[in-house]
């Protein structure tokens, strides 16, 4: 075996180690988060409660019905947002691409606002700490429709007008502004209670999901994750330029459209259950990229795990900062994500 192979094997081993560490961190922080809360539960009881075997009935209830869905939501939702961000950055060849910069979040906001204000799926009781939506399913459904509508508009534009990757990003920015404007208009005509619930929805909340929603998200993220992993060499080929990718046998247009579609469905499912959660999809790939570069064989799974870890940490801060009040997770991720992004930006100098 020659020297250079040894070097490359070493690099592969290092990347694999990072991947394993992230898997452990993802699981570990998840477990740690399960233990954290206003009701103290020892770790052994938690492990028993996960499988529903704790002797204390109330521990079973707290862990199984309340904390576990919430933690799984953070783990799965963050993972999905992370991998979608990574794929969007790859296929659009733009470090700024993510579901929130492409207007998917704004579309969801508009859909939710429409359901609350026009269709009356709004809030019961006005105490902000105890908001209960009349019809959460309707809100999620319209949020999903809103975000899918934005992605279809972008795709239709790129299909019929043959716009470039850059054009798609710009179209996303334009559509974001448009949908934001539409949401503001709706809010202008809303009453106080409706306004409060629109704002509250957009804050983002990991506590809205029950087991059924967790399973829907898990299936969506798993299936799209498999699709993304299967396309990993397409993303690598795009790394060396669009024309070279075509010359390597990649049907760039089809790859772009199919991936946009899968990305927007995945992001729409997550956002419609969780609300607006910014920066996870943008920052997670950039963090791991610093350590392993752009080889998507490793970049995809590590971005996904990093997304999950960031959302778990965000959720932990949101719950523990001023217990028992739970701060809005969307605000926390933006508050954490932006400085992190700036740090990466200045640390890496001119590089993307």
């Amino acid at each position: 075996m020659t020297k250079k192979i040894a070097d490359y094997e070493k690099y592969k081993k290092k990347s694999l180690m990072i991947l394993i560490v992230l898997v452990l961190a993802w699981l570990g922080i998840g477990l740690f988060s399960l233990a954290a809360g206003s009701y103290n539960v020892p770790l052994t009881e938690i492990l028993k409660a996960i499988v529903g075997k704790s002797e204390q009935a109330n521990v079973n209830t707290i862990i199984y019905n309340l904390r576990l869905p919430r933690i799984l939501t953070a783990m799965i939702g963050g993972t999905g947002l992370g991998i979608v961000g990574c794929v969007l950055q790859a296929i659009l060849r733009n470090p700024l691409a993510s579901s929130s910069t492409l207007g998917i979040s704004q579309g969801a906001s508009f859909g939710a606002a429409f359901a609350i204000i026009v269709l009356g799926a709004g809030v019961q009781g006005s105490a902000v700490s105890a908001v209960k939506f009349v019809n959460p399913f309707l809100i999620s459904f319209y949020a999903f429709l809103g975000s899918i509508a934005v992605s279809f508009l972008i795709l239709a534009l790129s299909r019929f007008k043959k716009i470039s990757a850059e054009g798609m990003i710009l179209a996303g920015v334009a559509l974001s502004a448009m949908f934001q404007g539409a949401t503001t208009l709706l809010q202008f005509f809303a009453n106080e209670v409706q306004l409060a619930s629109v704002v509250f929805w957009a804050f983002g909340d990991l506590g809205r999901t029950g087991w059924r929603e967790v399973i829907i998200m898990a299936v969506t993220v798993f299936v799209s994750g498999c699709y993304f992993m299967f396309s990993r060499w397409d993303y690598n080929a795009l790394e060396v330029g669009e024309q070279t990718a075509i010359s390597l046998g990649v049907n760039v247009n089809r790859v772009r459209i199919m991936n946009m579609l899968v990305c927007s469905i995945t992001a729409a499912v997550i956002v419609s259950y969780l609300g607006i959660i910014n920066f996870i999809g943008l920052v997670a790939p950039h963090i791991v990229r610093r350590f392993i570069g752009n080889n998507h064989v490793f970049l995809l799974p590590t971005s996904a795990l990093m997304g999950g870890i960031l959302l778990l940490v965000g959720d932990y801060i949101a719950r523990m900062a001023i217990t028992p009040v739970i701060l809005p997770i969307g605000a926390i991720t933006s508050f954490m994500g932006a400085p992190l992004f700036l740090y990466l930006l200045f640390k890496s100098g001119q590089r993307k």
Partner: protein, 254 residues
């Protein structure tokens, strides 16, 4: 062996960019596409590679029409090195591995690893295999892109101005390497190149283009003071130095 037959190309309803282009290059041979800016040289190269679809004509590689193949099969026959070098944060090894993309179905096979290692060795790039591509110099990057093209194991290698961003030494090195490898592996090399002296030195055949048409096509003899004056609208003198043709520009007025 690549045969280009009667290719015509235009964008929409605009003026044609290529009109009725036909030529061929044998395995092991290198052909230079020459001509003024806007003559359609790069467009021709992209048509030969199916990045662009011409309205008329065929491109045959060993008798097979590439417009009737699936894309990955085209990539197994023709490799293309773009003029613009990408800014890519992949390890050099992974960039060269991309040459195996047309062959990869589920994952990398042992054979792919072996081919990549052989190419790295052939081009003396082993020592930078685990460096990031975007941290290397322009000359190194160009060589790596050529290595990537070779890992495709193509029958035809298409190069779009391979020396445009290289210094003098690297220009010679890269062209020498391409010619040697083309001959050794029996690959037909087709390159767009601006430097006429380099073209004379390293290519066997010449395709002189003007305004989307073939002005002349043949061996070194077609490069004359007169044909250059016609195509480029400049006056040159051609001398013989150490038995090689050398072109010296005189004046931009004819």
């Amino acid at each position: 062996m690549i045969t280009v037959k009667e290719i015509s190309f235009q964008y929409g309803k605009e003026n044609p960019i290529l009109e009725n282009i036909s030529f061929s290059a044998k395995a092991g041979e290198s052909l230079a596409i020459l001509g003024n800016n806007g003559a359609g040289k790069s467009t021709l190269l992209k048509c030969m590679n199916r990045i662009l679809m011409p309205q008329q004509g065929r491109v045959l590689v060993d008798g097979q029409n590439i417009y009737q193949m699936p894309l990955h099969q085209v990539a197994q026959n023709l490799a293309f090195v773009e003029q613009k070098i990408p800014n890519s944060r992949l390890k050099v090894y992974d960039v060269v591995m991309l040459g195996r993309k047309p062959y990869i179905k589920w994952g990398i096979q042992k054979q792919d690893e072996e081919i990549v290692q052989a190419v790295l060795q052939q081009m003396d790039l082993q020592k930078m295999a685990v460096r990031y591509f975007d941290e290397l110099s322009g000359g190194e990057q160009q060589k790596i892109m050529i290595a990537r093209a070779l890992a495709q194991q193509p029958k035809v290698l298409l190069l779009d101005e391979p020396t445009s961003s290289l210094d003098l030494r690297n220009q010679y090195e890269v062209l020498q390497l391409v010619r040697d490898i083309g001959r050794e592996n029996q690959i037909a090399v087709v390159m767009v190149i601006h430097d006429l002296n380099l073209a004379l030195r390293y290519c066997d055949k010449f395709l002189l283009m003007k305004d989307g048409r073939i002005y002349e096509y043949g061996s070194q003899e077609i490069i004359t003071e007169q044909s250059i004056a016609e195509v480029y609208q400049v006056k040159v003198k051609i001398g013989i130095l150490d038995g090689e043709k050398v072109i010296l520009p005189c004046s931009h007025k004819i």
